[in-house]
Symmetry: C2
Subunit: 351 residues, 2 copies
């Protein structure tokens, strides 16, 4: 008779072994489908597993293993739809390959990001998916490089020659936005962004400007880049309008900026798109049910996650070769918040 371990209350592999009258090694083999075990023993082991309700302890098994079956994920925040669904996709993909995803949030802090990547190394995870706070040159990324951890950088990154990267093709998406705005007749657009997200913000900006000038040489593009937080951006946006600037459209390079812009419109009593048009990076569920529906650039979350995991597991499997840079395409949803410009929003009001 097997005796269940007293300490944890759960049967160990040795309990199964003695119950089945074989050694622990044999049990391990059966559990892994090794074919060199006599059918009779296989049956006995399965029977013992069944009656004892045995399930392997992943910690113990990973300890002995060279590579742990854990993938770490670090994202800047859990609160947004974008990173929420990103984690969902990453989790799904990891589990599909028999790994466990441990998701953490850097809370938009580079210090914390560094701590987290270190903790990931403490855990000796098989690989890491890092969505850096700022870009591929942050402290966490450096740590990864110095300790050559296997990992893939996503989202706020550009192609890099020491990391595999996957991020939405924001440049071409921005070009698409520019094309759409030009086509509607806009010739004066304000672009807002967060400066600290240097990597992608520049790509998005350049993509927009290049396409705009190409398609409409007379296009005027104003730019407001706030350094770190949305607070300053809010202020800068307010000042910008208060000085009398009257673009016919606003293009926000990141999700929160869209909210900031909307909030500023509301404060001034401007109607969208009658008084001013709006497009933003990142789609959200609410954008298609409010008045007006908000035009948005939809990032290919599923593709980003899938490709990142593909590359990551390739590296885990030992595949060498140069870093790859993947740029899945975005989709642009031109909704009601974008219209043809009038002569400009009525001027004169100020708060």
């Amino acid at each position: 008779m097997a005796v269940r371990a007293a300490r944890t209350g759960r049967p160990s592999i040795h309990d199964v072994a003695s119950h089945a009258g074989v050694s622990a090694a044999t049990v391990s083999k059966v559990m892994h489908g090794v074919t060199t075990v006599k059918p009779d023993n296989v049956r006995k082991v399965y029977a013992a597993v069944e009656t004892l309700g045995y399930r392997a302890d992943p910690l113990a098994s990973d300890l002995r293993r060279a590579k742990r079956r854990i993938i770490g994920a670090i994202v800047p925040e859990f609160e947004s739809e974008f990173f929420g669904s990103m984690i969902t996709e990453l989790e799904r993909s990891a589990e599909q390959r028999g790994y466990t995803l441990v998701a953490t949030s850097s809370r938009e802090s580079q210090d914390r990001e560094l701590e987290l990547i270190q903790r990931m190394q403490d855990w000796r995870v098989a690989g890491v998916i890092l969505a850096p706070v700022r870009d591929e040159h942050g402290p966490a990324a450096r740590f990864m490089r110095e300790n050559d951890m296997t990992g893939v950088l996503i989202d706020r990154v550009l192609a890099d020659d020491s990391f595999d990267t996957v991020s939405a093709d924001s440049a071409s998406a921005s070009a698409g936005v520019a094309a759409a705005l030009v086509e509607k007749g806009h010739r004066h657009v304000l672009v807002i962004g967060l400066g600290e997200q240097a990597a992608t913000v520049r790509a998005r900006l350049d993509g927009f400007k290049a396409a705009a000038i190409e398609l409409a040489p007379d296009m005027v593009t104003d730019i407001i880049l706030s350094e770190s937080d949305v607070g300053p951006l809010r202020g800068a946006l307010h000042d910008y309008f208060s000085k009398g600037s009257r673009p016919t459209a606003v293009y926000s390079l990141f999700a929160k900026g869209t909210l900031v812009a909307l909030s500023e419109f509301r404060r001034r009593g401007w109607r969208c798109p009658e008084d001013i048009s709006l497009v933003g990076f990142d789609d959200a569920e609410w954008m298609q049910v409010t008045w007006p529906t908000i035009a948005a650039v939809v990032q290919p979350v599923h593709s980003i996650a899938e490709q990142a995991m593909d590359v990551l597991f390739g590296r885990i499997a030992g595949y060498g070769g140069k870093p790859v840079a993947s740029l899945p395409k975005c989709q642009i949803l031109m909704r009601e918040s974008v219209g043809a410009p009038r002569h400009g929003p009525r001027a004169g009001e100020d708060s």
Copy 2:
């Protein structure tokens, strides 16, 4: 000279030990601040730790330990602001106590929820925070009870005599909504909800009805409860209005319902709040920047997380006693989407 382990490339406690000229046990003691180590050895150990860059492997240390310093969390989805910030708070709280939070999503599936809770037990986590898909009677909760895992149920749960529970006081919040609507002059309200979230939906519904009848005996409350998914709700809502029902306000008992209602309004070209008022459970960032701003019941995410973790760690520390049920209060933000009713929305249009 100490030799770094060849396999992982990282120094183990034995490397530190031999480098410092002491035993592994002594290193362990120093790392845990045990005071019975000679100052001289303490110094040597610290020096070795420093030069080797030693950091303990949490898996190895947890394996030996009775209780692992891991807290499992299971939520129905990662995509919403509510659960996103819930995870953020839980993670913060766990780390503050030296534990690691492993967050997972049941993706609104009870089957998966069961799988996840089993996996948590495989990991032998110290405790679990479970936000069940439906209520405290699901398969995951049963599994927890049967294997007496230590854990706390949150959000979609009522007080229970076999579990500690923490959830927003939806009944009193609903009463507050009723009071506000009555005060504005509403006498015909439609309440929409998801039937499968039996636990809290009933509490929210009853809280509303009781307060409504108490404050305005002539109040007419219509109710649409969809079984499982938002799809059927969308249809039911459409049918309801198509039959000519004209409540002056809609109260949605859950976040997605608010979007569904808005979307139906939009489809019919109804203005909010001129034609119909709207309040919903759960606040979101966008609700205060759109037209109109959407009134919402704000759940005390921080309190829920904090209280749940307090109770959980109490249990982990071995505190016995009866299950506790915590009901932190909600806040009601009455915004522009709620106005005084006219004679009712203009009738006659139908899609």
